[in-house]
Amino acid sequence: MFRSFLLASFVIGVSWAREVDEETDSVTAGLSFERDVRPILKAACFHCHGESGVREGGLDVRLVRLMREGGDSGAALVPGNPDASLLWEKLANDEMPEGEKKLGAEEKRVIHAWIVQGAPTARPEPLDPEEARFTLEELDHWSFRPVTRPQVPLARARGTSPVDAFVGRRLSDEGLGFGAEADRLTLIRRLSLNLTGLPPSTEDVVGWMDDARPDAYARLVDRLLASPAFGVRWGRHWLDVAGFAETDGGPGNDDPKRPHAWRYRDYVIEAFNANKPVDVFLQEQMAGDEMVASAVDVRDAYQRECLTATGFLRMAPDATQRRNTLTDRNTAVASTLEVVSTAVMGLTIGCAQCHDHKYDPIGADDYYRFRAIFDPAFPLERWQTPAQRLVDLTLPETEAAGAAIEAEAQVLQDDLDARKRALGITIQEQKLADVPEGDREATREAVHTPRGEQTERQRALLDLYPMVKPVSVITGGLLVEYDGPSYRKFQEEQASIDAVRARKPPKRLIMATRESPGSLPVSRILFRGDPESPREEVLPGELAVLRHHGAVLRIPDNDPNHASSGRRLAYARHLTNGAHPLTARVFVNRLWQHHFGRGLVATPNDFGLMGDRPSHPYLLDWLASEFVAGGWDQKRLHRQLVLSRTYRQGSRRRAELDRVDPENRLLGRMNVRRLEAEAFRDALLCVTDQLDRRLGGASVPVTEDSQGKAVLGVQKIRDGLRAGVDAAGAHGVRRSAYVEVQRRFPLNVLGTFDQPVMSPNCEARRPTTVATQALWFLNDPELIAHAERLAERVQGLGTNDRERLKRLFIRLFARPATESEWQECQGFLHNQTAHFRSVEGPRDPAVSAWAALCQVLLASNRFLYVD
C-alpha cells in the first residue's frame, strides 16, 4: 500500500553518516561515538535496538555503556578489542543490520577503528538513554542555531552592497572575481521575466535604452515591483510551496475538483502585490481563523481575507470526500503537516511520523507535539469532509437574488419532472403489456415492490422480463433507450432550466480551516504512525531541538469562552517572532532561489542534516536578520537582491570559473535558466498581443479533448457521453496562474514544459529537455496559431521587412537582430514566400512565410531561456 508520507522519507534516502576522505586516514583519527559512530548506528540499528522501547535480543545500542552491558547474548562491545565485540562481528559479516541495507566498507572501517581506539565517547554519557536521543552534534546543526548578524566583509570598492561584499569575498578567496555585467538589453529581459513573469514590451525596451539617468536601473526595478504582474509571478512561486491544486488527489483514478480553491490563490497573489509583511502573511495562512471573531462578518474584507488565507492548510491531497477511512484522514493530516513544515520551516518533520527521524534530531514525540498544534482543526474522530468544511460567506443580498432565481427554476423543474414521471408510467405500462397475461399481474406487483422486499419469485420474474423496470429507472439513465426522442426533448428543456440556474450569482464559499467548537481532541503519539494505535498523550509544543536552543513556545490553555484553542495562532506568532532560526532563513532562501536559479541552500524544503549546506552561510544569515529587522518587507528584499552586482552579472561561463566551480555555487556568473511552464505560456500570449492581464477570479477549466489532450474549456455531455469541448474562448488567454491546476491532467502546454504535480508540494521546478517539446514547437496547432497571429501583427510593425524584423526581435528577445540574423531571416522569407506562392493557400504567401519564420523564433532558445 502506498502512503504519501513515505515519499517524504525516501527523499531523505538511505545515505549514511558522514563524508570521509578515502585518500587519507584522517577519517579514523580521534573518533568519538557521538560524532562518528552513533549516526551510523542511528540510521541502521536504533529502530530495533533502542527506539520506542524496542530492544531486540535485549540489546540497546544507543549508548556505549549499554552496548558494553550487552543483551541476551552478552556484552556487545569490548573496547579496544573488535574481535571480541559481538557488535563488530555482526556488522562485519553483514549479519546486521537485517534487510538489504548493509553497512558500507567505510562505515565498517570507522566502527572498527573506533573500537580499537577504546570506544571513546565525547563526553560522559547520561544515565537515561532517552536523554541522549540526540547528540550535541545533531542538535548543533547550523540551521537550528539562532540566526546571527554577521559582519559585512570589507570591500575594496566604495558603495559595494552587502550582498556583493559577501559573494565577492568568497570569490576573491578562490582567486576569482565577479564576471562582467550583463548588457542592458539582457538585464531588462531578465529583470522583467524574473519580477513579473512577462517579457518587456517594445516600449519598455526603448524607454530603458533611452534612460541615461544614473538611477535608471533602480527605477526599472521599482516600476516592475509595483506592477500587478509581480504578484502573479511571485504568488505562483509560493503556490508551488503551498502545494496549490484545484483537485483532491489521493488514490483512485478520478481526481475530483475543488471549485473554490482559487480564492486562496487570489489571496496569495494579492498579498504579494500588497507587499503584505511576510510575518503577517504566514500568520494568516496558519491561523487566520483565530485572528478574527469566530462569527465572521461577511461584509468585512479583512475577516474574509484572514479566513481565505487558511486555505493554505487545505491544499494537500485529501481523499476523504470519496473514501473517508481513518487512514485516509490520517494521510490528509500528514500531507498537510508535510506542507507546513517544509514550506515554512524547511524541515522534513513528516519523516518522524512513524519513528524518530533517521537523520534529524526530531523524535516521533516531537512530530506529535507539532501535530497537536493542528489537531483541534484536524480531529481524526470528528472529521469533516472537504464539502462539509466549506465556509459560506455569501452576502445576504446575493443569497436573496439566488433564491429568487432558484424559485423560478424550480417551477420549471417541477413541471418537467411531473411530465417525465407521467411518461415513465406510460412506458412501464406498455412494457407490462408485453408480459404474457399469466405473469402480468405478478410482474406488476414485483416491479412495484421495493428491491429489498422482493421475493425470490418476484426477482425471477423481473429477470425473466428485463424490460420491466421501476419508473425511476425508466426515467433515469435508461430513458434514451426506451424513448429516444422524448429523452432528447427533455434534455433540451433541462438545459434551459440549467441556464436559468446558471444566472444565479455565485456563492462565496471558502476552503477554510477552523476548529469545531467544543472539547479539544486529546493528542496522542500514534505508534509507528498507525492511527489505530494511539499511545501516550502529548501536549502541543516546540521541537526539542529548538527548545535546546532556547526557543520558548507558549500555547494558551483552551479558553472555553473562545471558539478556538488558539494553538495555531500562538505557534504562527512564535514562528514569526524574529528569533525562530528557520522561518526567515527559509523564506529568504526561496527568494534567492527564484532570482538566481538555485537557493543559497539548494534544498529549499530541507534545512535538516540531509539537506544541502548553505553555499554562503554568512550571507544567508545576514539576509535573514536584515529581513526581520526591516519588518519582513518582501519587496525591500527583492530590491536588495536584484540591485546587486551579483545579480547583474552576465551568464556566460568562464573557463577559470568552470575549473573551480562548474555548478556555479560561488556565483561568479548568472545562471542560464529555462522559463517555467507558466512563464513560457504567458510570454507566448504576451508577444502575440493576446494576454489577458486581469487579476483574480475562478480558474479557466482544463478538460480532455477528443484526442486525449488537455485543453482549456468545459466538456460537453450529450446522452451521457462526451460530446466535444466548449472552448474557453476569451478566457483562454488569461495568465497561466489562472489556469486550473489539476493533479492528474495538466494543461497540455504546461505539462509539456514541466508543470509539477503537487504531491503534496514542490520545492523547485525540474525542467526537462525532451523530443516531445521539440515536436510541440514544430507541429502543435497551438504554437502554429500563435505564430500566424504574430505574423499578421508583424505586417503593421513597419513598412519594409528589415524594419519589421527589427521590431519583431525586440518584441521577442528584447534586442534588435544582428546583421547576420537579418541576412538569415531575409533569405528564409524570400525562399518561403516563393514556396507559398507556388502552392495554393488561403493566406498571402508573404504572411505565410512570416508565420513560418515567427514559429522558428518562438521556438528558439533565445525565447525559451533567460540569459
Partner: protein, 487 residues
C-alpha cells in the same frame, strides 16, 4: 566515500564541496558550521563533456543489444503464480509461526494462505507454473524463472527505485538511462528509450520510472501515450510538411547555435539542439513504428489483439517488438498505478491481471524468437516485490471475499528470456513458505549487474562523474553478475 552515491544529499554535497580544497576549507574555517565534514579533493574536468546518442561500443562483446521490461508495478504474487510450495497447501488456514514483516499491520494476520490456483509442470524442463499463466507455460522452455529475488525495501517506491535505479532512494537515474549513456542508440530516428504507458493511466510515480536523474537530460525515456496519437504532434500540418519544415529546422538550428556560442558548455542548450534533430526524424520513423496495421493477422492473433481483454497489452507488446526491431535500446511496458498490489480481492483481481498480460507476454517471446531477435534482446517480466504467505483481511476477519496478501520484498519471483539468459531454467529457492529467498539469492543490484554484463558492460566501470565523485547504477561492492542465470 562510503555514502551510497546518489542520495539527494550526496548530489547536493558533491556540488557544495566540489569547489576544490581551498573553497571547502574556507567554508570550514570561516563558518565553523561544517566541523564534521571533511573536504574532498577533485580533479576538475577541463573540457566540458558532450553527450549524444550515437551508438557506442561496449567494453566487451555484448550478448544483448536491447531490452524490453514488462514491469508489473504493485508486486505480483509469486505464491500464486511462480513458486509452488506443498507446505503452504498443507498448512493452509493454520497459523504462521515464523518471523514476518508487514507493511500494513492494521489488516495483517498470521493465517497461512496456500495458492488458490493449481500448478502444473510445463515444457521439457518441467517448470512448474500456475494455471493462471497457461501461455507462459507454453514458452517455459525459453525462459529463466528466478524464484529468489530480494530487495528488502518493503514498500513500492523504495523497492521500485531499487529495481530500476539500484538503490531504494528517489532521484537516481534508471537502468534505461544508463544503457543510453553507455551504448547510445542503434537508431537516431526513434527515441532510444521508450516507456509505453497504460490506457488506464500513468504508473505510480509517473515519469520517475523513466527519469535520468542527474544524468544529462538526453538520456531520459520518452513516454508514449497508450492511444493514438501515441506521441502528440508527430505529424506536421500539411502546409508546413516537407520543404518548409526542413527550412525551419535549418534556421532554428543556426539560431540556436549562435545562442549556444554565447554560452559554451551549457548542457541544456546542447540537449535542446539535439532534441530537434530527433524530433524531425521521429516524425517519419515513429509513425511507421507505431503502426501495427501491416502486421499479419496471424501475428495480431498471437498477441491477442483480437480479444478485448488482451488487446491493449498485446498492442503494446507488439509495438515493443517493432521498436526493438528498429534499433530502440530499451522499452518499458508499464501498468497503471500499481495494479498488481493485491492487498484485497486477490481472488478476483489476480486472474484478471494475468488474463490481460499472459498471452501478449508469451507472444512477445515467441515472436522475437521466430524473428531471430530473442538472442540479442533481454525480455524481462516482473515487479518490485512479491507477496506474503499469509492473509491480509482488507475489511475485517468476517469478509473473506476481500482478502489479499501484503508486501514481500524478501523473496519474490520474476522471469527473463533471451539476451543470453538460460532457457528452460529455474533459479533460486525460497523457504518452505515462499517468504524469504534462501538459496541463490538475487539482490536487485545483482540483477542489474547481470543485465549490464549481458550488454557487455562491467557494472563497476559504468559510472558518471558528478562534481567531486562518480555515481554508478550499481553501487554495492558486493554486487555480482549472477552467472548461474546465463547460458
Amino acid at each position: 566515500m562510503n555514502t551510497p552515491l546518489c542520495s539527494r544529499r550526496h548530489v547536493l554535497q558533491s556540488s557544495s564541496f566540489g569547489l576544490g580544497a581551498v573553497a571547502a576549507s574556507w567554508l570550514l574555517n570561516q563558518d565553523g558550521l561544517l566541523a564534521a565534514e571533511a573536504p574532498v579533493a577533485r580533479k576538475p574536468l577541463l573540457e566540458p563533456e558532450t553527450h549524444d546518442l550515437l551508438p557506442k561500443t561496449a567494453a566487451s562483446p555484448p550478448q544483448a543489444k536491447a531490452m524490453i521490461s514488462m514491469f508489473m508495478l504493485g508486486g505480483p504474487s509469486q505464491i500464486d503464480l511462480f513458486d509452488p510450495k506443498p507446505e503452504l497447501i498443507k498448512h493452509h488456514g493454520k497459523t504462521f509461526g515464523g518471523d514476518i514483516k508487514f507493511d500494513n499491520p492494521a489488516q495483517a494476520s498470521r493465517e497461512i494462505m496456500g495458492p488458490a490456483w493449481k500448478y502444473r509442470a510445463h515444457g521439457q524442463c518441467g517448470m512448474e507454473l500456475s494455471e493462471l499463466l497457461p501461455h507462459l507455460g507454453k514458452i517455459a522452455d525459453e525462459i529463466t524463472l528466478i524464484r529468489s529475488m530480494h530487495t528488502g525495501a518493503n514498500n513500492h517506491l523504495p523497492s521500485n527505485y531499487a529495481m530500476n535505479t539500484g538503490q531504494p532512494v528517489r532521484g537516481r537515474p534508471v537502468l534505461g538511462s544508463w544503457l543510453l549513456r553507455a551504448l547510445g542508440s542503434e537508431t537516431q530516428e526513434l527515441p532510444a528509450y521508450v516507456a509505453l504507458t497504460d490506457p488506464r493511466g500513468l504508473p505510480l510515480i509517473a515519469s520517475e520510472n523513466w527519469h535520468q536523474g542527474r544524468l544529462p537530460s538526453i538520456y531520459q525515456g520518452t513516454m508514449v501515450r497508450p492511444k493514438e496519437p501515441r506521441i502528440f504532434n508527430l505529424e506536421a500540418p500539411a502546409h508546413l510538411a516537407g520543404k518548409v519544415q526542413r527550412a525551419q529546422l535549418g534556421l532554428l538550428e543556426r539560431m540556436n547555435r549562435d545562442h549556444l556560442a554565447l554560452h559554451p558548455g551549457e548542457d541544456d542548450l546542447e540537449a535542446r539542439l539535439a532534441s530537434y534533430g530527433l524530433a524531425a526524424r521521429m516524425q517519419e520513423a515513429a509513425k511507421e513504428a507505431f503502426d501495427i496495421s501491416r502486421e499479419s493477422e496471424a501475428t495480431k492473433a498471437m498477441y491477442g489483439i483480437h480479444h478485448q481483454v488482451t488487446k491493449d497489452y498485446g498492442t503494446r507488446c507488439l509495438i515493443a517488438r517493432r521498436l526493438v526491431e528498429r534499433g530502440v535500446r530499451f522499452v518499458q511496458i508499464l501498468c497503471q498505478g500499481q495494479v498488481w498490489d493485491h492487498h484485497g480481492s486477490i481472488l478476483t483481481a489476480l486472474p484478471q491481471r494475468c488474463e490481460e498480460i499472459d498471452q501478449p507476454a508469451a507472444a512477445l517471446v515467441r515472436d522475437l524468437k521466430q524473428r531471430g531477435l530473442l538472442d540479442s534482446t533481454i525480455v524481462h517480466w516482473g515487479g518490485e516485490m512479491g507477496r506474503l504467505p499469509v492473509v491480509q483481511f482488507r475489511q475485517g476477519l468476517a469478509e473473506r471475499s476481500k482478502i489479499g496478501r501484503d508486501h514481500n520484498t524478501y523473496g519474490f519471483s520474476m522471469w527473463v528470456a533471451g539476451g543470453g539468459f538460460k532457457a528452460g531454467h529455474v533459479h533460486g529457492v525460497t523457504d518452505e513458505f515462499s517468504h524469504r529467498a534462501v538459496e541463490g539469492v538475487v539482490h536487485h543490484y545483482d540483477w542489474l549487474a547481470t543485465v549490464l554484463n549481458q550488454f557487455g558492460l562491467a557494472h563497476h566501470d559504468l559510472k558518471f562523474r558528478l562534481g567531486a565523485r562518480d555515481i554508478r547504477l550499481v553501487e554495492q561492492e558486493s554486487a555480482r553478475v549472477v552467472r548461474e542465470l546465463l547460458s
